[in-house]
Protein backbone atom coordinates (compact mmCIF):
# COMPACT_ATOMS: atom_id res chain seq x y z
CA UNK A 1 0.00 0.00 0.00
CA UNK A 2 2.94 2.26 0.66
CA UNK A 3 1.66 4.55 3.36
CA UNK A 4 4.72 4.67 5.54
CA UNK A 5 7.53 3.98 3.07
CA UNK A 6 7.09 7.41 1.48
CA UNK A 7 7.89 9.17 4.69
CA UNK A 8 10.00 12.35 4.57
CA UNK A 9 13.07 12.48 6.70
CA UNK A 10 11.75 14.93 9.28
CA UNK A 11 9.13 12.40 10.31
CA UNK A 12 6.05 14.60 10.37
CA UNK A 13 4.91 14.32 6.76
CA UNK A 14 3.61 11.30 4.96
CA UNK A 15 2.71 11.29 1.29
CA UNK A 16 -0.03 8.98 0.17
CA UNK A 17 -2.92 8.81 -2.21
CA UNK A 18 -6.29 9.95 -0.85
CA UNK A 19 -7.71 6.57 -1.82
CA UNK A 20 -5.12 4.76 0.24
CA UNK A 21 -5.59 6.98 3.29
CA UNK A 22 -9.36 6.68 3.24
CA UNK A 23 -9.32 2.95 2.59
CA UNK A 24 -6.76 2.44 5.33
CA UNK A 25 -8.90 4.41 7.77
CA UNK A 26 -12.01 2.50 6.79
CA UNK A 27 -10.58 -0.96 6.94
CA UNK A 28 -8.77 -0.33 10.21
CA UNK A 29 -11.83 0.58 12.23
CA UNK A 30 -14.76 -1.46 11.07
CA UNK A 31 -17.43 -1.11 13.69
CA UNK A 32 -19.73 -4.06 13.52
CA UNK A 33 -23.42 -3.74 14.26
CA UNK A 34 -23.94 -5.38 17.64
CA UNK A 35 -26.29 -8.04 16.46
CA UNK A 36 -26.43 -11.82 16.51
CA UNK A 37 -28.93 -14.44 15.43
CA UNK A 38 -28.11 -18.00 16.43
CA UNK A 39 -25.24 -20.34 17.30
CA UNK A 40 -22.96 -18.46 14.88
CA UNK A 41 -23.40 -15.46 17.17
CA UNK A 42 -21.76 -17.47 19.97
CA UNK A 43 -18.71 -17.97 17.76
CA UNK A 44 -18.82 -14.29 16.80
CA UNK A 45 -18.83 -13.34 20.49
CA UNK A 46 -15.92 -15.72 21.06
CA UNK A 47 -14.12 -13.92 18.24
CA UNK A 48 -14.74 -10.62 20.01
CA UNK A 49 -13.51 -11.95 23.33
CA UNK A 50 -9.95 -11.81 24.57
CA UNK A 51 -8.68 -15.09 23.12
CA UNK A 52 -9.24 -14.09 19.46
CA UNK A 53 -9.61 -10.36 20.08
CA UNK A 54 -11.53 -8.89 17.15
CA UNK A 55 -10.56 -5.47 18.47
CA UNK A 56 -6.97 -5.83 17.26
CA UNK A 57 -8.42 -5.38 13.75
CA UNK A 58 -10.43 -2.38 14.88
CA UNK A 59 -13.67 -4.31 15.03
CA UNK A 60 -15.87 -3.47 17.94
CA UNK A 61 -19.57 -3.91 18.47
CA UNK A 62 -21.67 -0.77 18.03
CA UNK A 63 -25.27 -1.17 19.14
CA UNK A 64 -26.73 1.29 16.66
CA UNK A 65 -26.99 0.92 12.90
CA UNK A 66 -26.40 4.67 12.50
CA UNK A 67 -22.75 4.36 13.50
CA UNK A 68 -21.94 0.86 12.28
CA UNK A 69 -19.81 0.03 9.24
CA UNK A 70 -20.24 -3.70 8.93
CA UNK A 71 -23.07 -6.07 9.75
CA UNK A 72 -22.16 -9.69 10.42
CA UNK A 73 -25.18 -11.86 9.69
CA UNK A 74 -24.35 -14.53 12.24
CA UNK A 75 -26.98 -17.21 12.08
CA UNK A 76 -30.26 -18.46 10.67
CA UNK A 77 -32.22 -15.70 8.96
CA UNK A 78 -35.91 -16.39 9.40
CA UNK A 79 -38.39 -14.70 7.12
CA UNK A 80 -39.62 -12.69 10.09
CA UNK A 81 -36.08 -11.53 10.87
CA UNK A 82 -35.23 -10.86 7.22
CA UNK A 83 -37.55 -7.86 7.13
CA UNK A 84 -35.83 -6.50 10.25
CA UNK A 85 -32.35 -7.15 8.83
CA UNK A 86 -33.28 -5.27 5.70
CA UNK A 87 -34.41 -2.32 7.77
CA UNK A 88 -31.23 -2.38 9.90
CA UNK A 89 -29.13 -2.47 6.75
CA UNK A 90 -31.01 0.46 5.28
CA UNK A 91 -30.44 2.44 8.48
CA UNK A 92 -26.66 2.05 8.23
CA UNK A 93 -24.74 4.93 6.61
CA UNK A 94 -22.59 4.34 3.53
CA UNK A 95 -20.02 2.88 3.11
CA UNK A 96 -21.44 -0.30 4.59
CA UNK A 97 -20.34 -3.90 4.35
CA UNK A 98 -21.92 -7.27 5.01
CA UNK A 99 -20.29 -10.47 6.15
CA UNK A 100 -22.54 -13.49 5.86
CA UNK A 101 -21.40 -15.92 8.52
CA UNK A 102 -22.21 -19.62 8.41
CA UNK A 103 -24.20 -21.97 6.20
CA UNK A 104 -27.61 -20.69 7.30
CA UNK A 105 -27.12 -17.13 6.21
CA UNK A 106 -25.09 -18.19 3.17
CA UNK A 107 -27.73 -20.48 1.67
CA UNK A 108 -30.22 -21.68 4.26
CA UNK A 109 -27.93 -24.36 5.66
CA UNK A 110 -29.69 -27.41 7.09
CA UNK A 111 -33.05 -25.67 6.61
CA UNK A 112 -32.71 -25.45 2.86
CA UNK A 113 -35.45 -27.98 2.09
CA UNK A 114 -37.91 -28.17 4.99
CA UNK A 115 -37.33 -24.81 6.64
CA UNK A 116 -40.68 -23.22 5.96
CA UNK A 117 -39.63 -20.18 8.00
CA UNK A 118 -36.03 -19.72 6.82
CA UNK A 119 -34.73 -17.37 4.16
CA UNK A 120 -32.44 -19.45 1.94
CA UNK A 121 -29.52 -17.05 2.02
CA UNK A 122 -29.39 -13.49 3.32
CA UNK A 123 -28.19 -12.34 -0.12
CA UNK A 124 -31.82 -12.53 -1.18
CA UNK A 125 -32.51 -9.33 0.78
CA UNK A 126 -29.17 -7.52 1.15
CA UNK A 127 -25.91 -7.56 -0.89
CA UNK A 128 -23.22 -9.67 0.77
CA UNK A 129 -19.49 -8.81 0.52
CA UNK A 130 -17.91 -11.84 2.13
CA UNK A 131 -19.32 -15.33 2.73
CA UNK A 132 -17.77 -17.28 5.61
CA UNK A 133 -18.51 -21.01 5.30
CA UNK A 134 -18.96 -23.29 8.29
CA UNK A 135 -21.61 -24.54 10.65
CA UNK A 136 -20.77 -22.61 12.67
CA UNK A 137 -17.44 -21.23 11.43
CA UNK A 138 -14.65 -21.23 13.95
CA UNK A 139 -13.39 -17.81 15.10
CA UNK A 140 -10.36 -18.23 12.84
CA UNK A 141 -12.70 -18.54 9.84
CA UNK A 142 -14.52 -15.36 10.80
CA UNK A 143 -11.18 -13.56 11.20
CA UNK A 144 -10.25 -14.79 7.74
CA UNK A 145 -13.53 -13.41 6.44
CA UNK A 146 -12.76 -10.07 8.04
CA UNK A 147 -9.29 -10.03 6.44
CA UNK A 148 -10.91 -10.74 3.08
CA UNK A 149 -13.23 -7.82 3.64
CA UNK A 150 -10.28 -5.60 4.55
CA UNK A 151 -8.58 -6.69 1.33
CA UNK A 152 -11.68 -5.72 -0.59
CA UNK A 153 -11.83 -2.30 1.06
CA UNK A 154 -8.12 -1.75 0.45
CA UNK A 155 -8.71 -1.92 -3.31
CA UNK A 156 -11.66 0.42 -3.36
CA UNK A 157 -11.50 3.70 -5.21
CA UNK A 158 -13.15 7.05 -4.63
CA UNK A 159 -13.81 7.64 -8.30
CA UNK A 160 -14.55 4.18 -9.59
CA UNK A 161 -17.59 2.38 -8.37
CA UNK A 162 -16.61 -1.04 -7.11
CA UNK A 163 -19.86 -2.72 -6.22
Amino acid sequence: MGLLDKEFTDGNIVIAKADDILNWARLSSLWQLSFGLACCAIEMMATSASHYDFDRFGVMPRPTPRQADVIIISGTVTLKMATRIKRLYEQMPDPKYIISMGSCSNCGGPYWEHGYHVLKGVDRVIPVDVYVPGCPPRPEALLEGLLKLQEKIRNESLVKKTA
Partner: protein, 176 residues
Amino acid sequence: MKNPQEIFEILSAQFPDANIQIDASLPVEPIISVNPLKINVISKFLAENNEMLFDSLMNLSGVDDANGTKTKDEDGNDVINGGTLSVYYHLHATKLNHKITLKVSAPRENPEVESVENIWKTANWHEREAFDMLGIKFLNHPDLRRILMPYDWEAGYPLRKDYKNPEFYQGMKVTY
Protein backbone atom coordinates in the same frame (compact mmCIF):
# COMPACT_ATOMS: atom_id res chain seq x y z
CA MET B 1 -50.28 -40.22 45.00
CA LYS B 2 -52.57 -41.79 42.40
CA ASN B 3 -51.90 -43.74 39.25
CA PRO B 4 -53.55 -42.83 35.94
CA GLN B 5 -56.12 -45.65 36.21
CA GLU B 6 -57.35 -44.31 39.55
CA ILE B 7 -57.46 -40.77 38.20
CA PHE B 8 -59.40 -42.01 35.19
CA GLU B 9 -61.98 -43.65 37.45
CA ILE B 10 -62.40 -40.53 39.55
CA LEU B 11 -62.78 -38.37 36.43
CA SER B 12 -65.32 -40.77 34.89
CA ALA B 13 -67.44 -40.63 38.01
CA GLN B 14 -67.14 -36.86 38.25
CA PHE B 15 -67.80 -36.07 34.56
CA PRO B 16 -70.02 -38.82 33.11
CA ASP B 17 -70.90 -36.74 30.02
CA ALA B 18 -67.33 -35.78 29.00
CA ASN B 19 -66.63 -38.93 26.96
CA ILE B 20 -63.61 -39.85 29.07
CA GLN B 21 -61.56 -42.82 27.89
CA ILE B 22 -58.22 -44.31 28.83
CA ASP B 23 -55.71 -45.95 26.54
CA ALA B 24 -53.32 -48.03 28.62
CA SER B 25 -51.99 -50.15 25.76
CA LEU B 26 -49.22 -47.70 24.88
CA PRO B 27 -45.52 -48.10 25.57
CA VAL B 28 -45.66 -44.71 27.32
CA GLU B 29 -47.83 -43.83 30.29
CA PRO B 30 -51.60 -44.22 29.82
CA ILE B 31 -53.36 -41.38 28.02
CA ILE B 32 -56.75 -40.14 29.18
CA SER B 33 -58.76 -38.63 26.35
CA VAL B 34 -61.61 -36.25 27.03
CA ASN B 35 -64.08 -34.03 25.19
CA PRO B 36 -62.33 -30.87 23.86
CA LEU B 37 -65.21 -28.71 25.07
CA LYS B 38 -64.98 -30.12 28.61
CA ILE B 39 -61.24 -29.78 29.11
CA ASN B 40 -61.59 -26.56 31.06
CA VAL B 41 -63.85 -27.89 33.82
CA ILE B 42 -61.87 -31.12 33.99
CA SER B 43 -58.60 -29.19 34.28
CA LYS B 44 -60.07 -27.01 36.99
CA PHE B 45 -61.08 -30.14 38.90
CA LEU B 46 -57.62 -31.67 38.42
CA ALA B 47 -55.93 -28.50 39.60
CA GLU B 48 -58.10 -27.84 42.65
CA ASN B 49 -59.29 -31.19 43.97
CA ASN B 50 -57.43 -32.16 47.14
CA GLU B 51 -56.67 -35.63 45.85
CA MET B 52 -55.29 -34.33 42.54
CA LEU B 53 -53.57 -30.94 43.01
CA PHE B 54 -52.11 -30.87 39.51
CA ASP B 55 -50.42 -27.50 39.89
CA SER B 56 -48.03 -27.79 36.97
CA LEU B 57 -48.76 -28.04 33.26
CA MET B 58 -45.42 -29.43 32.17
CA ASN B 59 -46.19 -29.31 28.49
CA LEU B 60 -49.00 -28.69 26.05
CA SER B 61 -48.53 -29.79 22.49
CA GLY B 62 -50.59 -29.91 19.36
CA VAL B 63 -50.49 -32.86 16.99
CA ASP B 64 -51.79 -33.37 13.48
CA ASP B 65 -53.15 -36.92 13.59
CA ALA B 66 -53.42 -36.98 9.77
CA ASN B 67 -56.15 -39.63 10.09
CA GLY B 68 -58.53 -38.16 7.51
CA THR B 69 -58.89 -39.15 3.87
CA LYS B 70 -55.75 -38.26 1.91
CA THR B 71 -56.05 -37.06 -1.66
CA LYS B 72 -53.81 -35.25 -4.11
CA ASP B 73 -54.65 -31.92 -5.68
CA GLU B 74 -53.84 -31.09 -9.30
CA ASP B 75 -50.24 -30.10 -8.38
CA GLY B 76 -49.58 -33.40 -6.63
CA ASN B 77 -49.70 -31.99 -3.12
CA ASP B 78 -51.27 -33.90 -0.24
CA VAL B 79 -54.67 -32.73 0.93
CA ILE B 80 -56.23 -34.19 4.05
CA ASN B 81 -59.96 -33.99 4.63
CA GLY B 82 -61.68 -34.99 7.86
CA GLY B 83 -59.93 -36.60 10.77
CA THR B 84 -58.71 -34.82 13.86
CA LEU B 85 -56.13 -32.52 15.36
CA SER B 86 -55.16 -33.32 18.95
CA VAL B 87 -53.80 -31.49 21.95
CA TYR B 88 -51.84 -33.32 24.64
CA TYR B 89 -51.51 -32.04 28.20
CA HIS B 90 -48.77 -33.35 30.48
CA LEU B 91 -49.64 -32.58 34.08
CA HIS B 92 -47.63 -32.94 37.25
CA ALA B 93 -48.63 -32.50 40.88
CA THR B 94 -45.58 -31.24 42.67
CA LYS B 95 -46.92 -31.94 46.20
CA LEU B 96 -48.42 -35.38 45.56
CA ASN B 97 -45.85 -36.28 42.91
CA HIS B 98 -48.14 -37.92 40.38
CA LYS B 99 -48.45 -37.32 36.67
CA ILE B 100 -51.02 -37.85 33.96
CA THR B 101 -51.35 -37.21 30.25
CA LEU B 102 -54.58 -35.81 28.88
CA LYS B 103 -55.58 -35.74 25.24
CA VAL B 104 -58.34 -33.96 23.36
CA SER B 105 -59.16 -34.44 19.68
CA ALA B 106 -61.06 -31.89 17.65
CA PRO B 107 -62.29 -32.17 14.05
CA ARG B 108 -59.76 -30.89 11.53
CA GLU B 109 -62.27 -28.65 9.74
CA ASN B 110 -63.14 -26.69 12.89
CA PRO B 111 -60.62 -27.54 15.62
CA GLU B 112 -62.07 -25.87 18.69
CA VAL B 113 -60.61 -26.68 22.10
CA GLU B 114 -61.28 -24.88 25.35
CA SER B 115 -58.36 -22.88 26.68
CA VAL B 116 -56.86 -23.81 30.04
CA GLU B 117 -55.03 -20.50 30.33
CA ASN B 118 -57.17 -19.43 33.31
CA ILE B 119 -55.97 -22.50 35.25
CA TRP B 120 -52.30 -22.77 34.27
CA LYS B 121 -50.84 -19.49 32.99
CA THR B 122 -48.10 -21.38 31.21
CA ALA B 123 -50.73 -22.57 28.77
CA ASN B 124 -50.92 -19.08 27.29
CA TRP B 125 -47.87 -19.32 25.05
CA HIS B 126 -48.19 -23.08 24.55
CA GLU B 127 -51.68 -22.64 23.16
CA ARG B 128 -50.52 -19.78 20.98
CA GLU B 129 -47.86 -22.07 19.57
CA ALA B 130 -50.36 -24.85 18.89
CA PHE B 131 -52.56 -22.27 17.20
CA ASP B 132 -49.65 -20.90 15.20
CA MET B 133 -48.36 -24.26 14.00
CA LEU B 134 -51.60 -26.24 13.58
CA GLY B 135 -54.47 -23.77 13.61
CA ILE B 136 -56.14 -25.19 16.72
CA LYS B 137 -58.58 -22.59 18.04
CA PHE B 138 -58.49 -22.25 21.81
CA LEU B 139 -61.81 -20.89 23.01
CA ASN B 140 -61.63 -18.11 25.65
CA HIS B 141 -57.89 -17.63 25.17
CA PRO B 142 -57.13 -13.98 26.06
CA ASP B 143 -54.60 -13.33 23.27
CA LEU B 144 -54.72 -15.95 20.53
CA ARG B 145 -52.18 -14.50 18.07
CA ARG B 146 -49.42 -16.21 16.16
CA ILE B 147 -46.34 -16.50 18.36
CA LEU B 148 -43.55 -17.71 16.06
CA MET B 149 -44.57 -17.05 12.49
CA PRO B 150 -45.04 -13.45 11.30
CA TYR B 151 -48.41 -11.93 12.17
CA ASP B 152 -49.19 -11.48 8.49
CA TRP B 153 -48.42 -15.09 7.55
CA GLU B 154 -51.27 -16.12 5.32
CA ALA B 155 -50.05 -19.44 3.97
CA GLY B 156 -51.64 -21.54 6.70
CA TYR B 157 -50.31 -23.64 9.53
CA PRO B 158 -46.82 -25.07 8.89
CA LEU B 159 -46.94 -28.22 11.00
CA ARG B 160 -50.07 -29.59 9.38
CA LYS B 161 -49.18 -32.65 7.34
CA ASP B 162 -50.76 -31.22 4.19
CA TYR B 163 -49.12 -27.79 4.54
CA LYS B 164 -47.80 -26.20 1.38
CA ASN B 165 -45.14 -23.53 1.70
CA PRO B 166 -45.76 -20.38 -0.34
CA GLU B 167 -43.47 -19.33 -3.17
CA PHE B 168 -43.00 -15.79 -1.85
CA TYR B 169 -43.38 -13.93 1.42
CA GLN B 170 -43.28 -10.11 1.26
CA GLY B 171 -41.40 -10.25 -2.02
CA MET B 172 -38.76 -12.66 -0.66
CA LYS B 173 -38.45 -16.02 -2.36
CA VAL B 174 -39.11 -18.75 0.20
CA THR B 175 -38.29 -21.90 -1.77
CA TYR B 176 -34.67 -22.91 -2.22
